[in-house]
Symmetry: C3
Subunit: 324 residues, 3 copies
């Protein structure tokens, strides 16, 4: 389907890409990608982690063709000629003559594709002279964390893929059955960035930020108020879930909803369900339930123990048709 | 005196609280507290550590009774009914009907208190199926770092209580004898937040920030100037000591002064005394003392070696009556 | 040439200083320096690492002589007298009477110098009662990372000098032969601060920040533009190289250029050459070269493989006279 090549100071690593593959591209190394398929689009979801000023990212390109798109072009002619030990004419070849404006994306010939997708992919160059650093894994590496008729969750964190440790990121992949939903749940430490890959759906989040009705009680304590943030979801929608915020992700009745999630600041993060099995309420003592909800504990427990699925539930659409 | 309950995804941990206990409540887990004493007030000093945006803290409450105080209320009816797999009437029980505004603090019956303070406290639920994480210790765990007739210092850091490592916090407890004082001393790495628990006193700090008289010498070097920041201290006073700032904490002549201190960014922090035993000056070479103070080293040493106590000294009030 | 003394809570460490020595002075500890040479100036390059608010540094001085320059002077008379357990007259000796304004630099007598530079230097006081912490190394500790006729690079990082680990700093020293140059190269993770110690030269950097011509291509991708940032270099010039930015450092034809570099945020940093041996381009596959530069790979490789030196090359000045 495609290839990725990572170039480090003393090695070159190339891999054939397949669905679910995860790659860690450290800051400062050269990377290039090929779509080797004639028909299918190659889609990648990137999370970029700035190494210096947060949010400030710079791309450095050797350009080619168009001199203005090459950082070599920023140096004096004399310096470039000295660095490469060549005359001006040869240096110009590298920096390029002004031609038509070039895209970051370039069309390769069939021969070039064939060569780039060649049989030595997945191997390291130069061969054998250094320990292979992995730099890649698959979201399907582990058994699913949760799997039932309503959905499947795959997760990869730094224990599974040590490259994630440096950047403190975890990756998850939700495949929510049509008409079903994930959550409500929340993350204890991580901010989660979701991106919809396939399907259509809806997102609801409880948010204390928006409320202007937060009031103080007689004893001066803050009594928080929550409002709903919601959004339609479709291919390419990006959703940011701040830490601690309860969310529900719903698939439409028409097709499964595929969502990739990047957990930022994920060290020691856990997600806690707020309904169904392993619901945080299910461990409260009877007295705490009574004092909080103002009903006998047995009645509260009847409600919170009814749902026996974990994380993924029949959604409103599907429930109408189901026995649930 | 009280109980605390911490609820994690797959365990519940309850403890009876006694004076000096320290608890680590990780972000995102549920916690509730009971005062089991009929007469005495339960006082807790909290240091809150934000996991995402510094200084931005959000409380998430399941509420109960008052629907607006529950984050469940931010979700659509259909979503909540699907999540709990119940009808609207049952869901309403959980989210609650609007009743009188509820406090975060709730009055429990004697029976509820008795049950919450029951004999299985200090144990973990469910019993036996996972390694107990500590999550608690006592400020009295170690022998005092310093103890003399003028005061006692207890300290707990991440070596004593590994939970403190993640949040890079250390805890200290000063009990300063009436009429005595602690310091001058300074912290090498940590910013320290003090809170007065009992007693009355006074606080002095040397602060270079306030000085507008900082001048440059002939050689262009900055010659710092210091001004005094001072405050009366009483129950509930909070004082922030920036890293490196020399401070003195004085107890009034009437009663002991009890102070809890949270050291933020405490990794590799040390406190250095600026008078008395282990005073930083006491290790200077004679030539350095002479060049700095402009007097023969022997004279300087006579002054800096006179005080032979460590950290806690007779304060101005008590000295008048003492032989010192 | 000089001495440095570091005073910690329970030890004093003194060292004779020689060219290339590196010292780690942790925040909050007392330090003093002596130039023991009658004629030569003692030059130190410092990188200051703030422990609390980034960029906010405070110096705390016991002063001496001038009362306003001592932080002891910020405390009440009564507090200082109690702390040192002395009468007012003795306390005044410590805080000092107002005399002429004092410099941070003080002139020592020959006897004081002789004593401070005495034979017990390099030893720890008090002797034998604690494990020696190193706190120092030399930039010349390791063999040079690169050495050819055009220059020498020495590097020390946290693997060589564990004290650097806490502050995430690496140190490098470039000695560039007159008429030669270092680079183009870039750092993958670190921001580098250069300071010129000796010689005269020139600095060029490719910078995407300054470009207002960054345009979007037909496909909506950002096509970066680079401009040159350049500077004359002489004794005391400080240059900041943001992470990822390609740079060239050129020595004039008259004398060698000596440059000290502090790499900030240096964990896992590598520098990658952009010309000559181990050039990042030299590992690209033929198809990638062709697609980028728009010329047959063989022609591109003829240019990028011509230079066979590593990092240090003959500069424009020297090339005119050389056979290169």
């Amino acid at each position: 389907m495609g290839t990725i090549t990572l170039i480090e100071r003393d090695s070159r690593q190339s891999h054939n890409i397949k669905r679910g593959d995860l790659f860690h591209v450290p800051a400062g190394i050269t990377v290039y990608l090929t779509n080797t398929d004639n028909n299918e689009r190659l889609v990648l979801a990137n999370i970029l982690h700035s190494v210096s000023v947060p949010g400030d990212l710079q791309f450095f390109s050797v350009g080619g063709g168009d001199p203005e798109s090459s950082f070599y072009n920023a140096f004096s002619h004399e310096v470039i000629e000295a660095a490469f030990n060549v005359d001006r004419e040869s240096a110009q070849k590298l920096i390029g003559q002004r031609k038509q404006q070039q895209d970051v994306f370039k069309k390769a010939t069939k021969e070039q594709i064939r060569s780039l997708a060649g049989e030595d992919k997945g191997r390291l160059w130069p061969f054998g002279d250094r320990k292979e650093t992995t730099r890649h894994t698959s979201i399907y590496k582990n058994k699913p964390s949760v799997a039932n008729e309503n959905g499947i969750l795959h997760e990869v964190d730094s224990k599974d893929f040590p490259d994630l440790q440096d950047i403190n990121v975890a990756v998850s992949f939700f495949n929510i059955t049509r008409g079903s939903m994930a959550g409500p749940f929340y993350n204890t430490k991580a901010t989660q960035v979701l991106m919809i890959l396939n399907g259509v759906g809806r997102f609801e989040m409880a948010c204390p930020h928006l409320s202007e009705q937060t009031t103080r009680t007689r004893t001066g304590e803050i009594n928080p108020r929550y409002e709903q943030v919601s959004s339609e979801l479709r291919h390419g929608t990006v959703v940011v879930i701040p830490v601690g915020h309860p969310v529900v992700i719903e698939a439409s009745g028409e097709q499964n909803l595929e969502v990739i999630g990047f957990g930022l600041n994920s060290d020691e993060n856990e997600w806690f369900p707020l309904a169904g099995r392993e619901n945080v309420l299910s461990q409260w003592e009877d007295e705490a339930l009574e004092l909080t909800f103002g009903f006998p504990a047995q009645e509260v427990k009847r409600v919170i123990q009814k749902q026996n699925q974990k994380l993924f539930f029949k959604g409103p659409a599907r429930r109408g048709r189901a026995s649930g």
